[in-house]
Structure formats: structure tokens, C-alpha cells
């Protein structure tokens, strides 16, 4: 039974691959038959032509029979599909407008959403590209009652934790502020660097692409003159030469051997948690070589610690264990460790930060765009099918198979989808680098944003499936009616026209929503950026130095230390001013102390205010203006009178209408625990410490010399590049006290930007999507009106022949366009008002229903509507009456 396939298969293959040869053979076979039959008739006495004619008659419907023979071939379906595609492409060449509009309406949304979804996926959803990333956590030191949230970890503690912890199978440490200067290889270059424990790369589970990463023992002093470099550095300075591995180079004047090159996709940002200082990524990795002194040092934090949980252990259990360990250490080393706690954050959380609101809004924007794309596609297909009704009817009348005709329409839709989709993919790949490098966004895990196949697939599928489904449902209905009815009505039923109009109005409405969102945020950001922060943030670098108590037990020594640091920093080239305080504006809210103050009665506080202990140069350095009285001087120390400086907000709150200078304020107690009354000697301007959108905060300032705390946040004004300045400052501080690292380094601009980050990100997103939507809506309107003008050509011809004025015809088309746009805008504004609530928390100085924004958006859309109606209306004018009347 199955042996027939021995004969059937080769033939079928031939039918597939040698179609033309088979067609030729078929023709030859049929012509042979006709010749033989004709010869027969001639022998019977017919004439030559008569014989031929008789032969043909005998045969029956020649074309049809031939077609039937061809139909017996397998995969005829596929052949037809291919020829349908050819047909579709040829018909697009005849109406390039449709093809252009269709492909763009598909490609743009697909590209944009695929890029955005990929970015979102990379930032939020994709697991970190480490080995079993869900087991990784970042471990911070924490001192709760000091209101500082997180401290970097002291090396001694790191060693103890590593040894004692059972919950973590291993821990690694990184100091991400170990920049180096490369010399001896041509031009010297300063680059970002990090020092890591030898097991760092092994813990993360990422190895080198060439060479190796560190081995145990290389983080001992004396064995640490090795370095691992990133792929970017390897390409830039080593010419992507494999022989770079093993080469000796000079970092910071000391000879190091390069032992490995990291792969191009090594996620530097994810591996260096919570870095804010530089947009340049770390390129040089060296071992963290601690000497014995440092190894037992337990009080100055300088390391970030990443730990891997043992299999089966939860973060909660690990937190409990670390807390216990921390307490144990507090008992063992009370001088340094008492009162310290530990905080563990899963690495993924650490990397993402607080971006959940952005997700929601981004998802909303993406949803709108996809919706828009589906609507566009559906509208286009509908218009197209209706336009081709005459042609389809003719073909059916000529004998074409009804279902074949429908299949051809579907093939055209699918081809359009394929072309548009491919272009969309190309656009997405192009858009991603643009998205990634939008500087102001400072996206976390920026280096991991690549096109993700699932994102691409999702956006393509959503658009194609929904679009095709919406577009082909009416097509099928039309074709059924086509095959059945004899109606000569060509312009499509009123139902179809209404559907087309509704689709365009929907596009306009969606664009309106996106544009309104964009407008609101634009105004918000503009308002925020115009807010005076109360100081001068330009060129300001902030960094922190924290003194362990036992190093400078006497308060006076602490003051002396900070004074020396001030001097050392001030002498650095490029530094124009230095100041320090216990907290600066735009620090994390939890890091700023807010305590009660007493103004009149010593028994009940008059209010709460932000507390700062400053060195005298602070106000000048940061740019807070003096508004009355004087600033601190060197003489405001323990020997002098207790003094205090307040800001305007506190002055107005505590002594409304009166001069605050000379008033008495108490914020602390003296050695006998009585209220210590300080004299107000100066009033300074207000700042907004918690963000541009927060109100001015009552604040007071104490002289560091009279309230000696163990830490200071330095503000350094310099025109040079922050990273270079930071390294120079670190070295300068080391000359004052070689044990003292700087930490929490960040530029003031980046801190302010960070406070705006969410809004700017959403604004960027809505701008892109809004412009896209506007374009697509404009194109859709243009397409619809063109088609409608096209369909009513005959009517227009008659009317102009009967004397209708050209301007009348033009006006009608434009009016129709404006009416459609206006409908869309009205619906859109209502929708925007409803959706505005989602944005409400982001807005500042702008109401969710802002008249100005609404009016501008409406006007923009209507202007676009007028422009989009212009071309079709011109075409309406050019319709020649005579030509139309002749055409039928």
C-alpha cells in the first residue's frame, strides 16, 4: 500500500521544485492531444481549420482543464500564496500611498513599543545576568539611631561576617572608588576603577572572556599587582589585541599585569550597587589588598559587600543571622561595633530602586501605542478592502473562486504585516541605542538594555494579531456580500463608512490622551526646574567623611581634623570653594535629621526643624545667601558664646514679624541636661532639602566647633570633572589622615536630577509616544479622506460639471476632516481627564485638568487635521468632471 509513495514522492518534489518545467510538459501533452485529434479529423476529410476547431471543441474548456491539472499538484496552496504576494506588491506599486501609510503605521508603533518594552524588561524584569541572581544580596552596615540609613562596610567587619555567616555561602567586597591613571601606553588616561576581593567574579558567576579573573591569594598585599580590564578599555587602549593579556602596564605609577579581559556584556552597573558619581563605567578591576591593620579595622566603612545565600536559605533567615552576628560583634568589640545593625537588600531590588511608578506609566504609554497601532491597521485594511470591491466583483464574475479571492485579500494583509513588521524590527533595533544613551534618564542597568526577542515578539504579535483580526473581519463580511450580491453600489455601505470614521476618530483620541500627558509633565518639569533650590548647585560635588570615635576621642581633635581637611581640599587645583555640614539638600530624606526646637518656653517645643552642624565656610561654598546678621567664624567655638543661625522659615515660624537676630533658641542640652539657649546671630535663605517639589523647611545651623559631630558632608565647588576631583580629594584626605576614605560621593546636579528622574523618564516616554501617535493619527486621517475623495470622484465630477465652485468642494473635504478631528479630540480630552489621575502624583504646579495644556493639545491636533485634509482636498479639486462621467 505504501509503496506507491516510491513513485508519488519524487513526482511531488518535482512539482514543487520544477514548476515551470511541469507547466511546459503539461502544455506539450495537451498540444499533442489536440494535434492527434486534429490529424484524426483531417483524415476523416475536414479542412485544416475545421479539424483544429473540432479538436478543441472535443477537448472541452481548455483553460479550465489545464487549471484542473495544475490543481492536482500538491502544495498548490503554497504556490498560490506566493503569487498572491507578488500580486499584492504589484498593486502597492500602483497605489504607493496605501503601502506607505500602511507600512509606517505598523512599523513605527512596533518599533517604539518593542524598544520600550525591551528597556523596561532589562531594567525591571530580567534577572540579573549573574549566576543564580536570586541568591545575591547587598549587605550594608546600618546605625538606626543616627538616622543614616546605610553605611559602607568596614573591612574588619567584612572579614568577620564572611567567616561567621552560615546563611551566606560566600561574600565578596568591592570598593568602587579606586580610579587609576594609566601611563606608559601613550597618552595617560584617568579611568574609573574598583578594587574587589579575589572571589568577587567567582561569586557573581561571571568569568573573563580572555585570560582569567582573580584567584585566591591575589588580594594579599604583595600579590595584588594584577588587573582585569573591561572589553571597552581593551578595545580602546589595547587595540583588541589578545596579547594584552599578560602585558604589564602602569596604573597610578605602579606596574600591574593584565590577567584578563571581561566580556562585552559584563553588567558593570549591576555589579557596582548604588553608584552615583559618574556616568562612565568602571573599567579597571584590581584586587582588594588589605594590610593587617585594615583587615582588623572595624569602624570606617569603605566597602560594598555582595553575598550569595546558601542554597535553601531565605533573605529573612539571613537577615536574622546577620543581626545576631552584628550583635555578637558589638559585644566583642564594643568600641567600634556597638549599636550597629546590618541591612540586606536583594541585589535586584538594589539595582532597580524606586521605579515602580514609572513602570505603571510606561506600561500605560505602551498600551496606548499598541492600541493606536491596532486601530490604524484595522482602519487601513478596511479602507483597502472597500476600495477594491469593484475589482473583486469583476474577478468573481470572470469565474474566480470566491474563497480564493478572499484568500488573496488576506494574503495582502499578511504581506503588509510582514513588511511593516520587519521595518518595525529594524526601527526597534535603531531606537534602542538612542533610548539607552538618553543621558538625562540615567537608567539603572543601562548597559544591559538590548533588544529582547520576547519584547519584539510581543509587540509584533499584538499589533499583527489584533490589527489583522480587526481588519479582516470586515473584509470577510464584505467578500461574502461581494460574492452573493449583485449590487452595483461601490462606495461601501454607510456602516463601513461609519466604521472608518470611528477608527480615525479613535486614533485622534488616543493621540490626544498621550499629548495631554506629555504637556502636563512638560509643564511640571519646567516648573520644577524653575524652582529656586535656595543655593547654587552648579559644579558642586558632595562627599562624606565619617570619623570613627576612637580615632579622635576629643571633640576638639575632630574639629581640627575637619579644618585640616578643608585646607587640604581648598588647595587642590580647580577647587574654588569648600564647605561642610552634617547634611546637605537633596540627600536622601532619611539621612537628614529633624529635631524639635524650643523658642520661648523650655517645656514645650515650638516646632521641628532640620538640624545641621556646619563649618563656617559652608554657606558661601554652597551658595545659601545671608539675609541678616552674620555667618559663623573661627571664634564661634567652645570658648565662645553658644550661637545658632536660622533660616527664614524658622524665623517666621518662631518669631513672626520680629527680628530673629538676638533671639534665643534651644535645640540641645548642656552638660547638666538643662536646655542650652543659643543666640541667633544670623538669618540665611531657605532651601528645599527634600526635593524641588517639597516646601521650604525650617532649618537651623550650629557651628561644628560647638557641636562636634564625627561626620561631615563636604560640598566642593569645582569646574573640573567630578570623578577626577573626587579622586584628588581622596588623596588629599589621605595626606591628612591615611586611614580616612571618602564615601557617598555624588554631584549635586545628579542628586537634583535624581529627584526629577521619574518625571523626566515618564516625560521622555510620553513625548516619544505622543509624537508617534500624532504622526499616525495624521497619516490615518489623510488616508481616510483620500480614500473617501477617491470613492466619491464621480459625485464630485458631476457637481463640478454642474457648476459647483472649487472652493466649496475644498471646504467640504476640510470640514469633514476637522469634524472628525474635533470628535476625536473631544473624546480624547474626556479620556485624558479620566486618565489624568494616574499622573496626578507626578504633577507639580499643574492641575491634572490644566486648561492651557488642554487647549494647546486640542489646537495642535486640529491643526494636524487641517494639514492632513489639505492634500485630499486638493485632489478633490483636480478631479476632472468629464473623465469621471466617462468612467464607470
Amino acid at each position: 500500500m505504501w509503496t506507491r509513495w516510491f513513485y508519488a514522492l519524487p513526482l511531488r518534489l518535482r512539482s514543487l521544485l520544477q514548476r515551470r518545467r511541469m507547466d511546459g510538459e503539461l502544455d506539450e501533452e495537451i498540444s499533442f492531444h489536440l494535434a492527434a485529434q486534429a490529424a484524426c479529423h483531417r483524415e476523416a476529410g475536414m479542412s485544416e481549420e475545421g479539424a483544429d476547431a473540432a479538436a478543441r471543441r472535443n477537448f472541452g474548456g481548455l483553460t479550465q482543464r489545464r487549471e484542473e491539472c495544475v490543481d492536482t499538484r500538491p502544495l498548490r496552496f503554497l504556490e498560490e500564496f506566493v503569487s498572491d504576494i507578488h500580486f499584492a506588491v504589484r498593486s502597492w506599486r500602483r497605489s504607493p500611498g496605501f503601502a506607505f501609510v500602511g507600512i509606517l503605521s505598523l512599523a513605527l508603533p512596533i518599533g517604539a513599543t518593542a524598544a520600550i518594552i525591551s528597556a523596561l524588561y532589562a531594567i525591571l524584569l530580567s534577572p540579573l545576568p549573574f549566576d543564580r541572581p536570586e541568591e545575591l544580596g547587598v549587605i550594608w552596615q546600618m546605625k538606626p539611631n543616627e538616622r543614616w540609613q546605610r553605611f559602607e562596610v568596614a573591612p574588619g567587619n567584612f572579614m568577620e561576617w564572611k567567616q561567621r555567616s552560615q546563611a551566606f555561602e560566600d561574600m565578596a567586597a568591592i570598593n568602587p572608588f579606586a580610579g587609576v591613571t594609566l601611563t606608559g601606553l601613550g597618552e595617560p588616561e584617568r579611568m574609573e576603577g574598583a578594587r574587589v576581593s579575589a572571589n568577587f567574579f567567582d561569586l557573581l558567576g561571571r568569568g573573563a572572556r580572555y585570560g582569567r579573573t582573580f584567584v585566591k591569594g591575589e588580594d594579599q598585599a604583595g600579590h595584588d599587582r594584577v588587573a582585569v580590564i573591561t572589553e571597552s578599555l581593551w578595545r580602546r587602549r589595547f587595540g583588541a589585541d589578545i596579547r594584552a593579556v599578560g602585558r604589564a602596564v602602569s596604573f597610578d605609577g605602579a606596574e600591574h599585569t593584565i590577567i584578563g579581559v571581561l566580556p562585552a556584556d559584563f553588567p558593570v552597573r549591576a555589579a557596582t550597587p548604588d553608584i552615583e558619581v559618574s556616568t562612565r563605567d568602571i573599567e579597571v578591576w584590581r584586587p582588594l589588598a588589605l594590610n593587617d591593620v585594615q583587615r582588623s579595622q572595624r569602624d570606617q566603612g569603605m566597602l560594598r559587600v555582595i553575598g550569595r545565600l546558601r542554597e535553601g536559605v531565605t533573605f529573612a533567615a539571613a537577615a536574622r543571622e546577620m543581626s545576631f552576628i552584628s550583635k555578637t560583634l558589638g559585644n566583642l568589640y564594643p568600641a567600634t561595633n556597638r549599636g550597629w545593625e546590618v541591612q540586606i537588600l536583594p541585589l535586584a531590588e538594589q539595582t532597580v530602586g524606586e521605579t515602580s511608578q514609572t513602570i505603571v506609566l510606561a506600561a500605560g504609554g505602551v498600551g496606548c501605542t499598541l492600541l493606536l497601532a491596532c486601530v490604524s491597521v484595522a482602519g487601513l485594511l478596511l479602507a483597502r478592502a472597500t476600495a477594491r470591491m469593484t475589482e473583486l466583483r469583476t474577478r468573481v464574475a470572470l469565474g474566480a473562486n470566491g474563497s480564493r479571492v478572499v484568500r488573496q485579500l488576506l494574503t495582502e494583509s499578511v504581506t503588509l504585516a510582514a513588511v511593516g513588521g520587519s521595518l518595525g524590527i529594524a526601527l526597534a533595533y535603531a531606537a534602542l541605542p538612542a533610548l539607552r544613551d538618553l543621558g538625562f534618564l540615567d537608567l539603572p542597568r543601562r548597559d544591559e538594555i538590548v533588544m529582547r526577542a520576547p519584547a519584539l515578539l510581543l509587540s509584533i504579535l499584538t499589533v499583527l494579531i489584533t490589527g489583522l483580526v480587526c481588519g479582516t473581519a470586515p473584509v470577510i463580511r464584505i467578500s461574502r456580500r461581494l460574492v452573493a450580491s449583485r449590487s452595483r453600489h461601490v462606495t461601501g455601505t454607510r456602516q463601513q463608512q461609519a466604521l472608518g470614521n470611528a477608527l480615525v476618530a479613535a486614533q485622534v483620541a488616543i493621540s490626544c490622551v498621550l499629548l495631554v500627558g506629555m504637556g502636563l509633565l512638560l509643564r511640571t518639569v519646567a516648573h520644577l526646574q524653575a524652582v529656586d533650590p535656595g543655593f547654587d548647585p552648579r559644579g558642586l560635588l558632595t562627599l562624606q567623611i565619617t570619623l570613627p570615635p576612637q580615632y579622635y576621642p576629643r571633640p576638639i581633635d575632630r574639629v581640627a581634623f575637619f579644618r585640616r581637611v578643608h585646607e587640604a581640599i581648598r588647595q587642590l587645583p580647580g577647587v574654588s570653594d569648600v564647605g561642610s555640614s552634617t547634611s546637605v539638600p537633596f540627600m536622601k530624606r532619611s539621612d537628614q535629621a529633624v529635631i524639635p526646637y524650643f523658642a520661648g518656653s523650655p517645656h514645650a517645643p515650638a516646632g521641628v526643624a532640620s538640624a545641621n552642624a556646619v563649618m563656617p565656610s559652608y554657606f558661601d561654598a554652597i551658595g545659601i545667601p545671608l539675609q541678616g546678621g552674620r555667618l559663623f567664624t573661627m571664634r564661634d567655638d567652645r570658648q565662645g558664646q553658644p550661637v545658632i543661625i536660622v533660616n527664614q522659615a524658622l524665623a517666621s515660624a518662631a518669631w513672626p514679624g520680629r527680628n530673629p537676630i538676638g533671639q534665643k533658641l534651644s535645640v540641645d542640652t548642656d552638660s547638666n541636661s538643662n536646655r542650652l539657649w543659643r543666640q541667633v546671630v544670623g538669618v540665611v535663605g531657605d532651601v528645599r532639602p527634600f526635593g524641588l517639589d517639597s516646601p521650604e523647611q525650617p532649618s537651623f545651623y550650629l557651628p561644628q566647633a560647638q557641636f562636634e559631630v564625627g561626620w561631615q558632608v563636604f560640598v566642593v565647588r569645582s569646574r573640573q570633572e567630578p570623578a577626577a576631583v573626587a579622586s584628588a580629594i581622596q588623596r588629599a584626605v589621605m595626606t591628612v589622615d591615611g586611614r580616612q576614605p571618602i564615601h557617598n560621593v555624588a554631584t549635586m546636579s545628579s542628586m537634583i536630577d535624581r529627584s526629577l528622574r521619574t518625571r523626566k523618564a515618564v516625560l521622555g516616554l510620553l513625548s516619544v509616544l505622543g509624537s508617534l501617535a500624532l504622526m499616525v493619527a495624521g497619516i490615518g486621517l489623510y488616508g481616510l479622506l483620500s480614500y473617501q475623495v477617491q470613492q466619491s470622484r464621480k459625485e464630485i465630477g458631476i457637481r463640478s460639471a454642474l457648476g459647483a465652485s472649487p472652493s466649496r468642494i475644498l471646504r467640504e473635504v476640510v470640514e469633514r476632516g476637522i469634524a472628525l478631528t474635533a470628535t476625536g479630540v473631544s473624546v480624547g480630552l474626556v479620556a485624558a481627564a479620566i486618565c489624568g489621575r494616574a499622573l496626578a502624583s507626578l504633577l507639580f504646579g499643574v492641575h491634572a485638568v490644566d486648561l492651557q495644556v488642554y487647549v494647546i493639545c486640542a489646537a495642535t491636533l486640529i491643526a494636524v487635521g487641517i494639514v492632513a485634509s489639505a492634500a485630499p482636498s486638493w485632489r478633490a479639486l483636480r478631479v476632472s468632471a468629464a473623465e469621471e462621467l466617462r468612467r464607470d
Binding site: R4, A8, E25, E28, E29, F59, T72
Partner: protein, 119 residues
């Protein structure tokens, strides 16, 4: 391949696809022929009763060829031109035997019904 009883009753001289297949297989069982010769042979054997329109012959032949029951070869014909000669394949020969037996049983059964005396 066996036509239904109603089909046979309704169109005595137009043959249906299934029966046509059977006939073609049988004719080719005797000797390889090209399409025109097959149509002549059909007329000849059935004394012109079975008039298969030439056109419907070829789709049937091509279908049988695609199924693997017959195979084709281009040879020079006695007209001087080359023509496509069809012949039966071994599986085709077996299929022919099966279908012929089926047809035989069916036609016997029908004859018995038709020859029933009216009451």
C-alpha cells in the same frame, strides 16, 4: 473510488471521477498509452457508450500520477512527436485488482435489485 448507487443511476453516459479512475487503470494495465490513445481506446472498447470528454481525462490522469498509481515517460509516438506515455505501477496494479473486485460485487448486487420482478 466506488461511486454511490445514486450516482450511477443519475448519469448514465457522464462518468464520475471514481469510476473513471478504475477505467483508466484497467486500460493502462493492458499496455502503456498516451492520453489521446487512452481516450480513443475508451471509445473503442465501450463502443462509444462511454464518452469521456477529453478534457476531464487529463486531470484524472495527473491525479493518478500524483498518487503514485501510474507513472509517465516521454517517448516518441507514431505521430513523430514525443508524447507522455502512462503505465501502471506495481502498487497501481494491486489497487486495480482491489477496486475491480469491489466494482464486481457492487454491480452484481445492483443487478439483482434492478432485476426484481415488479409485484
Amino acid at each position: 473510488m466506488i461511486p454511490s448507487v445514486t450516482d450511477i443511476m443519475s448519469k448514465p453516459s457522464d462518468l464520475l471521477q471514481g469510476t473513471l479512475d478504475l477505467l483508466l487503470l484497467k486500460i493502462l494495465a493492458l499496455e502503456p498509452l498516451h492520453g489521446w490513445a487512452i481516450s480513443q481506446r475508451l471509445r473503442q472498447i465501450s463502443s462509444d457508450v462511454l464518452q469521456v470528454s477529453d478534457g476531464s481525462l487529463y486531470p484524472a490522469l495527473h491525479k493518478l500520477e500524483q498518487e503514485g498509481w501510474i507513472r509517465a515517460e516521454w517517448k516518441t509516438s507514431d505521430l513523430g512527436r514525443r508524447a507522455k506515455f502512462y503505465s501502471l505501477t506495481p502498487p497501481g496494479r494491486k489497487a486495480l485488482g482491489r477496486e475491480a473486485a469491489n466494482w464486481d460485487r457492487l454491480s452484481k448486487a445492483i443487478s439483482q435489485v434492478v432485476q426484481l420482478k415488479e409485484a
